[in-house]
Each structure stands twice: as structure tokens, then as C-alpha cells.
């Protein structure tokens, strides 16, 4: 009984949080509904059970990367490397699975964490602006992915297919991968709201000097945020490899921009200090719906990239606090 009450209260606080969040989130929800109506009217199959399952499956890796990159955006920093880390982890998994078996998943998970950790250390200890630090690591991981894959997609050999079966599981139209990504979102949300380190993310983004003097652990929190982003990217890479049964060395490339777009659409401020992990789902849903919809109505892949570029610019424009001329330089 009391448990029920607590749950109810949790739902309530979630709603008050949504209410307080401004225009961008509401706009995103409205556009999501509009997009669904438009695509369905062009092609009714958009809302078929089969396609919904597809959309949720597409959601999973993007959600992982978005919650990760959001942690970094909260700081007012940016992570440009998460796409390359995802590609690299997809390739690594493909190479490792035949050799090490199921434990490869764990290795790749840690690879993601370490890749994130490196970004964090470069940024906090060597004082390299995150923009440059992650641009460099992006280039490095992308090259490593291409090198170890020999410059071409690697396919999983049939003997490891049993290890990939879980990727096909689903409960009704809800894929198992999607459930995992939602669990990760829950964990990240607990970190954001319930731990001192997570609380510090937004405090740093809002006023780093004060956060330091208040006695919060600035470097540790920053490194944690980058590590979380790396974990999100690493697990997303696993999903890509399992879903496609192959390690494509460029698979995560476009997801960097998409994950930042999804975060911004959900109300995360690029200057830092504002955002909510739970709300990023809204942005992810919109981005995935647009992408899937464009596939369903057969829009050229190159056009899709133009659309995402435009979305980010428009979303940032809507979202930015124009009274406050903070620039992103961190």
C-alpha cells in the first residue's frame, strides 16, 4: 500500500518536472504527434504493429547514446566522439565474439567506459576543451575501427549467432533491446537525481565557480559524465552489431549528431545547466520517428542527413536562452 503511494508520488513529481520544463519539450511532443499523423497519412503502414516494433528497435541505440551525451551536455561540455566509439565497439564485438564468447559483451562495455573516461581525463586534467578533446578522440576511434575492420564491414560467423539471439526477443511489439535501453535510462536518471555526482552535472553547467566553492567534486563529476557517455556509446555499438549481425566500422557515424539533436529537442541546454534524462526519450522518439518515416516514404539517405542538420539548428534556436549570451566554449 505505502509502496503504491510512493510510486504515485514519483509519477507526480515526474509530471511537475515536465510541466516546469518549457516550450521545447512541449513543442517536441506536438511535433512528434504531427510527424506521426503526416507519415501515417502518406503511408498507413507507418503505424502498423510491425513498424512500431521497428521504431522501438531503432530507438534503443539512439536512446543509449542520447542519455549518455546528455550527461556531458548538462556540464555545458560536448561529446563528439560517441558515434565513433559506437562504431569501434561494434567492430570490436564482431572480432571478439568468436574468440572469447559471451564475455566479449562485458569487454566491449568496458571499452566504452574507458573511451569515455579518456575524454573526461583529457578535458579535466589536461584542460583540453571538450570540443577539441572529443573531436580528436572521435577521429582516433573512427580510424581504429576502420583499421581493425580492414576498411570494410565484418560479418558475424554463423557459429556465434546463438549469442546474438537475444537481439530478436520481444514482448509483444516491445523488443528486448528497447527494454534494456529503458533500464539504462532509469539507471542514468537515478544517477542524475539521486546521487551527489549526478546532481553536480547541472550545478557545474549552471555555475561552475560556485559549484567548486560549495564543495562539490568538479573533476570527478565531469569524468563520470564523460564515462557515462562512453558507456552509452559502447552499449549502443553492441546493439548495432547484434542487430545487423555484423560490425560496420562507420555504423555510428551519423548517430553523434542525432543524439545531440535528440537531447536538445528534449530541452537540454547546450550551454549546460538544464535538462532531464527522463525527458530525452521524447527527443529520441521524435528523431527516430522522422528517420523511420523518411525510410517508409523512401526519402534518400543523403537527404536525411540534411534534415537532421536542420533539426539541430532549429531546435537550438528554439531552446536557447536569448536573454543570456552564454557561448559554448567549454
Amino acid at each position: 500500500m505505502s509502496n503504491n503511494k510512493r510510486n504515485l508520488k514519483g509519477v507526480k513529481t515526474l509530471f511537475t518536472k515536465i510541466n516546469k520544463n518549457d516550450i521545447s519539450t512541449i513543442l517536441t511532443v506536438v511535433s512528434l504527434i504531427l510527424i506521426v499523423i503526416i507519415f501515417t497519412s502518406i503511408n498507413p503502414r507507418f503505424l502498423s504493429l510491425y513498424n512500431i516494433k521497428n521504431i522501438l528497435l531503432d530507438c534503443a541505440p539512439l536512446l543509449l547514446m542520447t542519455i549518455g551525451v546528455s550527461c556531458v551536455l548538462f556540464l555545458g561540455s560536448i561529446d563528439l566522439s560517441n558515434g565513433a566509439v559506437a562504431s569501434c565497439s561494434a567492430v570490436m564485438l564482431t572480432i571478439m565474439l568468436p574468440k572469447f564468447g559471451a564475455v566479449s559483451f562485458v569487454y566491449v562495455f568496458f571499452y566504452g567506459a574507458i573511451a569515455g573516461l579518456i575524454n573526461g581525463v583529457l578535458h579535466t586534467k589536461l584542460k583540453v576543451p571538450s570540443f577539441i578533446a572529443t573531436l580528436c578522440t572521435q577521429s582516433i576511434w573512427q580510424s581504429i575501427a576502420l583499421l581493425i575492420a580492414g576498411g570494410q564491414p565484418l560479418s558475424m560467423t554463423p557459429d556465434v549467432w546463438p549469442l546474438l539471439k537475444w537481439g530478436k526477443f520481444s514482448i509483444g511489439p516491445i523488443p528486448f533491446m528497447f527494454i534494456i535501453s529503458i533500464i539504462f535510462m532509469g539507471i542514468f536518471a537515478v544517477i542524475q537525481f539521486k546521487t551527489p555526482t549526478g546532481r553536480t552535472f547541472l550545478a557545474i553547467g549552471c555555475n561552475e565557480r560556485a559549484a567548486r566553492l560549495i564543495g562539490l567534486k568538479i573533476s570527478f563529476s565531469k569524468i563520470t559524465a564523460f564515462t557515462l557517455s562512453g558507456i552509452g556509446a559502447g552499449v549502443a555499438g553492441i546493439f548495432f552489431a547484434v542487430k545487423l549481425k555484423s560490425g560496420i566500422p562507420t555504423v555510428g557515424e551519423q548517430y553523434n549528431l542525432m543524439s545531440i539533436a535528440a537531447a536538445v529537442l528534449s530541452g537540454v541546454l547546450l550551454t549546460g545547466g538544464k535538462g532531464n534524462i527522463l525527458l530525452t526519450f521524447v527527443g529520441v522518439a521524435l528523431i527516430t520517428a522522422i528517420q523511420n518515416g523518411m525510410n517508409v516514404i523512401a526519402v534518400d539517405g543523403f537527404w536525411q542527413k540534411i534534415v537532421f542538420g536542420l533539426i539541430v539548428v532549429v531546435a537550438i534556436y528554439i531552446n536557447s536562452d536569448r536573454k543570456n549570451f552564454k557561448l559554448i566554449v567549454k
Binding site: F193, R199, L202, C206, N207, A210, L213, I214, G215, K217
Partner: protein, 508 residues
Amino acid sequence: MQKENILTINGLTKQYPGTLALSDVSININKGEIIGLVGENGAGKSTLLKLIMGLEQPTKGDMQIYGKKYNPKTPLEANKNGIGMVFQEQSLIQNLSVSENIFFGREDSYSKFGFVNKNKMNKDAEEVLSQVNVSGIKTSKKVFNYDFATRQMIEIAKVFYVSQREDEKNSIILLDEPTSVLSEDEVKLLFKNIKKFVAKGDSVIFVSHRLDEVLEISDRIYVFKDGQNVCELNKENANENILYEKMVGKTASGEYYKLNRQVTPSKKELMKIEKLGLKGYFNDISFSLHEGEVIGICGVIGSGKEELCEVICGDKIPTSGTIKIHGEEKVSKEPYQSLRNGILSIPKERREEAIIPDNTISENISMSNYSKIKLNGFISKKKEDEQAQTFMEELNIKAPSIFQKVSNLSGGNAQKVVFARILASDAPILLLNHPTRGVDIGAKEEIYSLIRDLSEQNKGIIVIGDTLDESIGLSSKILVMKDGTLTHEFDAPSDNKPEQLDIVKYMM
């Protein structure tokens, strides 16, 4: 003799969502007058200045300048009408030169084919500075080379310059807390300049929390309370007690610093500072802090007292010496390590250093000590809110709810939130750097009694007062610093306080 009227304000009202910041205010400013505006924080002084400068638009009411309707939309428009403002926060651009700052936005008259003639600009800037009697500034140097007080003078010179009217009629300068960062000498210089300025027929509106200054310089004083202009006093009729009474609605108590509650410090040593030094700022500082003791550090700007505080709280790393806590040597490279050792500071610049403006009151209070609100290893929102609720009532924080963002609070209430955080932190050693800076008198008294509470709880407190009087009133021991060294130590028991004059001798 009726002087010529420059600016008339009629029934000005400003409604913000949720608060009526200014309600039906009417004042007028005559030629060559210095008008003092006093009132507690949130009384509406700053709002009035913003409306006059065109930074905000009034909800109701109108203004007239030289009999013409005046409704500025931007500060530039206000400048054109001969009204200029020196802001509380400085608006100079640090990495431009002094002359570039003075003529910022007005480079056109110095440019030929798109290139700026810097020599001419530097010369003219010297002219502008000399008009307000500021010397010793190289106009080609970048602004960041100068200390805060000098920058303030540059800014004032700039405002004097930009708000000259085209028709050469007299202008009005608004000064919002111009003296809060100035030393006494600099305040004197500033006042001399202001008097020179008004002798030419220009007028000044002067806002300050320091009543003695307002009384010294103003010809007329308007008192604000809760957004209303409650009274207008001529210089002859005003004194500190009357002003205080009108502002707060009660008479000043003689027990301003709560001397009867001053604690005689115990013999138990909390912290011992030995030969502490920070190269270029101070050196060889030694003293110890006992339980229940309040140590006041006095010194002029540049004496090293601010830096000493920054070193003790872990913001800067000392270049020599040690800090011992309970007899044990502690090394700290970050403020969080100092906090773990039991030292927490209230920094000087509240908005920049002490609060997270976008976070709620509740979140701000819990930040320095999360262990208090944890349940099963995770932060409990319920415990956090309960804690905030308790402090809100205890410290009389005026806000609609604990979920209010701190950025929406007035200075005094924001400072109380900072104090609530300090209280929640349970740190035994507290550094209070200008704890009543920019705080109104009512809240000041509450903060004084809070400091007494803290020392009764056996905490060791180091305070840098906003004024010398405050340092003396609060402390049981006073350390005087000059040029980075300790020059003298005064005992200051409640019945035998040292005289200001004696202390100043060691500061200068």
C-alpha cells in the same frame, strides 16, 4: 529658490509576474542635485533605476525629461537623453583597452577608411578621465590590468562621458551601489568627483546600503519600502535612525551586533595556521582559531585578506606554510577537500560563487552536505525538502516555496539560503567573506544573530566584514593585515572593543 526640474517621474509602477516591484512611485530630480535612494533589498530601488535607464518598461506611469515625454526603450536612448548609469556589476570589457572601453560603440568619430585612430582615442580618453579627476591610468592599457576600484572609476568616467546631451543641457547619472568595492580613500575621491560634477549643474541619483554615505553626499533622500516611496527627506532633517526607522518600520536597536551574545572562546584549538604564504599576495601568516571564536580580519583592498581566505578554503594552493586542524596537518588542493577537513566558506560574490541560480532553494541548501539527506545511499527528495522547509522557517527565508529558483530571490534571501547551506554542512570552521554584502538592514541583523548562533554551537568563524565597524562588532579577536603580513592582533571582548582609529593605524 526653486531649481530647474530635469526629470519628473509620475506614478511609475512595475508589475513582475507574482510580485509588484514598484508601485505608484513619483519623484522629481532638480538641476545640480544629489538624490539618495535608500531601502532594503527588494524595496524597488534597482527596479526604478532600470526603468529610468530603459532596461525595463513600466507597467503604468510616465516620466518627463525637461518637460518632454521620456519613455526609453534601450539604455542608448537613455544616454541620448542625458541619463547614464554605473551598474552594480561592472560592464567594462576586460580585454579591451581603457580608451576602447570609454569610446565603445562610438568609434565612428575615430575611424578613417574603417581603421581606428588609436592615438587620438587614447588622448581623448585621458581628457575624459581627467574630467572626473582620475589620474595615473594609462588609457592604452587593457582594463584587466587595473584593480576593481580603479575599474570602477574608469566606468564612472565613461558614464559621465556617454551621457552628455547633444543640446548640452545637464544630464543625470545613476550610481547603483558604487562604493561597495571601494576603499575609504576611494570613496572620498568619488564623492569629491560627484560634487564637482553636480557643481556644473548635472544631477546624480545615488543608491547605497551604507546610510552614512548616503547622508553624507545627498541633498535629498527618498526612502523606499516594499516598492513604494514612503518618504522624502531633506538632508537637514535626516539622520541614520530616521532612515532606518522608515526603511524597516522599526527603530534601530542598540544591540545591533548582539554583543550580549558574544561567546568567550574556549581554549580548545580548532585550526592552527602556521607561516602560511601565497607568493605575491601574503606571507608568514600564523594564528589559531578556537571553538566559539570569531576572528575578524581587517585590511584594505590588496592587503591579502581575501587571498588568505581563498587559501584557507582550498580555492588556492598555498606556496608555503601549513594548516593544522585539531593538531593534524591537512593538505587541500580543492575546496571539496577542505570541506572534508571541516572548512567551508561563504565567498564574497554571492551570485558568481555561492549559489547555483537555476537550482531550487531546496537543492541549493543540501549541496554542501548530501550525506544528511541520504536514504539507503541515495538522495531522498523527501528528506531534502523537509530539511529545506525547516531552514526556510528557521531563517525566515521569504519565498513562495522551497521549489523557487534561487535566481528569483532578493540579495538578502539568497544570502540566507547560503547560510542555510552552511548550517546544513555541519562544517566546524566557517569563513565568512563579506557575509552581509548587498544585504538589507533587516536581513543583516538576522545574519548577525545567526553568526552568534553558530559561535554558540562552538564553531570557529573567520569573518571579513563589509565595514570595519561590522568586523569589530562581530569578532572576539581582530587580525589586521597590511601588504600581505599580519601587523597587529587585537582582543575584542564584548565589553572592551578596540577603536576603529586604532585598527586603521595598523591597516595604512
